[in-house]
């Protein structure tokens, strides 16, 4: 059973396109996150939702819009993709803020 699953695993798209990445967790956690990992392996938080409510919104271009239809799902929609958006995007979840975060396998986004 996959605890945190993301789709797709790979995404190659042209500049200017709009794309979405989906994430689901079956751990019963109430907090979900999106992290971005750049080419130097640096991991940085983008967003966090707790029970469908946005609680962390780091300095991210407003072309990135997260959506949480329920507490088990957190999707990431990206408008007008740019070359600099190429990275690996990780979804994660935790039992509120008092425990470790479990990460998905990542979505490697390549913008050409």
């Amino acid at each position: 059973d996959t605890a945190v699953s993301q789709t797709p695993k790979y995404l190659v798209t042209q500049m200017g396109n709009d794309k979405s990445i989906k994430c689901e967790q079956n751990l019963g956690h109430d907090t979900m996150y999106w992290y971005k990992q750049d080419s130097k392996k640096f991991l940085k938080i983008m967003f966090s939702y707790n029970n469908k409510e946005l609680i962390i919104n780091e300095t991210v271009p407003n072309r990135f819009s997260p959506k949480s239809p329920d507490k088990a799902h957190l999707n990431l929609h990206i408008n007008s993709l740019e070359l600099g958006d190429s990275a690996v995007y990780f979804c994660a979840s935790s039992l509120w803020r008092d425990s470790e975060a479990f990460f998905g396998q990542g979505t490697r986004l390549t913008v050409v």
């Binding site: 992290y35 392996k41 991991l43 940085k44 609680i55 803020r97 470790e100 990460f103 396998q105």
Partner: protein, 113 residues
């Protein structure tokens, strides 16, 4: 601003040796620290955590040491195995950060048979 860890260093060890991976953090308000292991093509995997009211915690083959005086965290891996080869990240969380983890740059560990 907040920062954890160093530029991506590398550590090469022989199978069976003990490994020590170090991490520096700068946010004195952090009260929770985690070590993650990331294998190629996979997401970070939880190894061990420690809260700021402790200075040492042991798991299976791993030990985390926390020195709050100098804001230093280390991960010790006993009897390192080839399967331990990966990038290791330390991460910190501030009490009021709503679960936000701030990651260091990571250390590449290579274990030679």
């Amino acid at each position: 601003g907040e920062s954890v860890g160093l530029h991506l260093p590398t550590l090469s060890v022989q199978e069976g040796d003990n490994s020590i991976i170090n991490c520096a953090y700068s946010n004195s308000a952090s009260d929770y620290f985690i070590w993650y292991k990331q294998e190629s093509g996979k997401g970070p995997q939880f190894i061990i955590d420690i809260r700021s009211n402790m200075d040492k915690r042991q798991g299976q083959r791993v030990t985390v040491l926390l020195n709050k005086t100098v804001k230093h965290l280390s991960l010790q891996i006993a009897a390192t195995q080839p399967g331990d080869s990966a990038v290791y990240f330390c991460a910190e969380r501030e009490r009021t950060s709503y679960g936000k983890l701030t990651f260091g740059q990571g250390t590449i560990l290579t274990v030679h048979p």
